[in-house]
């Protein structure tokens, strides 16, 4: 029997190498592309405006896109098996809605807080409150119930979205633009200390998710069978939920609500590399980073100097591609049938 149908050491090595190469290529391209043609010699020498553009504008932006993309994709890759639902994405836990609502409230009515530091802080606090609420509301017999969690998360997000529309209608018209931009999601240039702080949050979240890889593989078997194999599926769901809340909170705080990364990237990689989470999770970290860096580069390059919201780019590229994958997968499954 050949090894094509299971995860082998060589497939894991080559899969990760491929993802890393794509991520690196996207990052290099993103650093070079922009409204100003960079003189790499000047950057290396550390002189002139090119040096400033590289270190103060391009690199922090690419770093933020990479971190957010990595976190969202890893979270989606883990939530899908944890909640036993292929439609699960980081948005499904309801945390993004709570974070966005808190940020929009600050933008609309708290001029003292509507600063680059204040809004992310509000968003992160909103994420925490939303996570606590959704988690409590999703407990059945003291365990996080997957179906209840999805319903509570979706309803909570819709509720937050309608409140945001209400705030938008009542707020001063001059605020509308920044509120809409927040809802669409966008990668901006953040100061290095903020990136370092967010980076450590993403790192903690991603490590928590990786630790659940084996447990996530078994979660499709059902809680009882997973338990008979020595794994606590309820605890796994709770850990994935907490890690996702951390990742989503940090990313909404810095970039607003960016959809599709956490849904599309894991599914694409599952088609290419298989469902085994011991490869899928690290591959999603790299693939998510590549996808969001590429999307952000397109967003600032296509109509330069006008910038498009990156959320629109991820949705426009991810949506049709996802449909294509679904159709192709449907055919493959039909052919595989008895």
């Amino acid at each position: 029997m050949n090894s094509a149908a299971r995860l082998t050491a060589s497939r894991r090595r080559w899969g990760l190498a491929l993802c890393a190469a794509v991520a690196l290529a996207c990052a290099v391209l993103a650093l070079l592309v922009g409204s100003v043609e960079l003189d790499l010699g000047a950057v290396m020498a550390g002189v002139g405006p090119d040096d400033t553009i590289f270190w103060k504008l391009r690199l922090p932006r690419v770093a933020l896109a990479a971190m957010v993309g990595a976190g969202l994709a890893a979270s989606g890759a883990a939530l899908q098996p944890a909640l036993r639902n292929p439609l699960a994405s980081p948005d499904i836990i309801g945390v993004s809605g709570g974070a966005a609502l808190a940020a929009v409230l600050a933008l609309a009515w708290m001029p003292a807080w509507a600063s680059t530091a204040g809004v992310p802080l509000f968003a992160f606090v909103g994420a925490g409150a939303a996570a606590a609420f959704v988690y409590r509301a999703s407990l059945v017999n003291g365990r996080l119930d997957p179906y209840t969690q999805i319903l509570v998360g979706v309803v909570f997000n819709t509720f937050c979205a309608s409140l945001i529309l209400l705030v938008n209608a009542l707020a001063d018209a001059s605020r509308t633009r920044s509120i809409v931009f927040w809802m669409m999601g966008g990668v901006s240039v953040q100061p290095w200390p903020a990136l370092a702080l967010a980076g450590s949050l993403f790192a903690v979240g991603i490590v928590m998710l990786m630790g659940q890889a084996r447990s996530l593989n078994l979660s499709g078997l059902g809680d009882d069978t997973a338990a008979s194999l020595g794994f606590d599926a309820g605890r796994c769901r709770a850990t994935v939920f907490a890690a996702s809340a951390l990742v989503v909170g940090a990313s909404v705080a810095l970039t607003g609500v960016i959809t599709f990364v956490g849904l599309v990237v894991p599914h694409l990689l599952r088609r290419l590399l298989g469902s085994d989470n011991r490869l899928l999770l690290p591959a999603s970290v790299l693939g998510g980073a590549a996808f969001l860096v590429a999307s952000d580069t397109i967003a600032r390059w296509v109509l330069a100097p006008v910038e498009l919201p990156v959320g629109a780019i991820t949705a426009m590229t991810g949506g049709p591609f996802f449909l294509y994958l679904l159709r192709r997968h449907g055919r493959a499954r039909a052919e595989d049938g008895p």
Partner: protein, 277 residues
């Protein structure tokens, strides 16, 4: 394990076990004072009406539930003391496996049975792979290795689930209604397979089932539960008598030895339940 006597090494021992679900309002699934032993190489069918505690017994045996009082021991390990990982190397559980929802191949599913033997993000070794292939050969699923699990028929899925359980290399195999939703041919294949594994490998088999005819056909010992208590345990012909089945299931039945096969038949009778209100 120190000084494990033969008795305590038995695949499954329940001694005076009581259990009630914390939120079990109507008391469904409760069990009282269950005492039962399955010997090495034993094969036991657990039967009884809905809500009589069959699945509770199985979950207690697997260590998924811990008794409120009394003791459950599997192969020398008390479930209330042993770690989940330790139990997972001795006891395997097969339920009705639903679709996984994600495209795992059959070999990947069988290798999931090796999870209790792995660490962290490490991959399966040659030894794990050998155990999986051995389990697939034993269950007649080795030709399915490359297929997507969710695309299999329900009969194939159940046999792959048994292979996954065998890959755990258990001393005790627990099954919850493994033949539900299977047609008569697939049911026969499945129970033939369990009997074969029991004979050739000495794996003890405990299965919950509703079909009294299959219980009588394949299992030398039958435990009959009624309202959470062990009503009777013994050979099918003793336990599944007309009077006992009528009393416990509260329905009229026809019980006889089939002249052609020599097997015990328990057949329903039209309107039989009405006569026993």
């Amino acid at each position: 394990m120190s000084h494990a006597s033969d008795r305590s090494r038995a695949p499954l021992t329940l001694a005076g076990v009581n259990y009630a679900y914390p939120s079990g309002g109507d008391g469904g699934g409760r069990v009282y004072e269950l005492s039962l032993q399955v010997e090495r190489g034993g094969m036991l069918a657990v039967v009884g009406p809905n809500g009589s505690g069959k699945t509770t017994l199985l979950r207690l045996a697997a260590g998924l539930l811990l008794p409120d009082s009394g003791q459950v021991s599997c192969c020398g390990s008390r479930t209330s003391v042993a770690s989940r990982a330790e139990l997972a190397r001795k006891v395997a559980l097969v339920g009705q496996q639903p679709a996984l929802g994600f495209p795992y191949s059959v070999i990947e599913v069988v290798l999931m049975g090796r999870a209790p033997y792995l660490e962290g993000l490490s991959l399966e070794s040659e030894e794990d792979l050998a155990a999986a292939h051995d389990a697939m050969r034993a269950t007649g699923t080795d030709h399915l290795g490359q297929r997507v699990f969710d695309s299999l028929s329900s009969g194939e899925r159940q046999r792959v689930s048994v292979a996954r359980a065998l890959a755990q290399q258990p001393e005790l195999l627990l099954l919850d209604e493994p033949g539900a939703f299977l047609d008569i041919r697939e049911q026969t294949r499945l129970y033939d397979l369990l009997e074969e594994l029991n004979t050739s490998r000495g794996t003890a088999v405990v299965s919950v089932l509703h079909d009294l005819n299959l219980a009588a056909l394949y299992f030398p010992t039958v435990a009959l539960l009624n309202k959470g208590r062990l009503h009777a345990v013994g050979a099918p012909s003793e336990v599944l008598s007309y009077a006992t089945v009528r009393e416990v299931f509260r329905t009229d039945v026809y019980v006889a030895i089939n002249d052609l096969t020599g097997q015990l038949n328990v057949l329903p009778i039209k309107g039989g339940a009405g006569n026993n209100e």
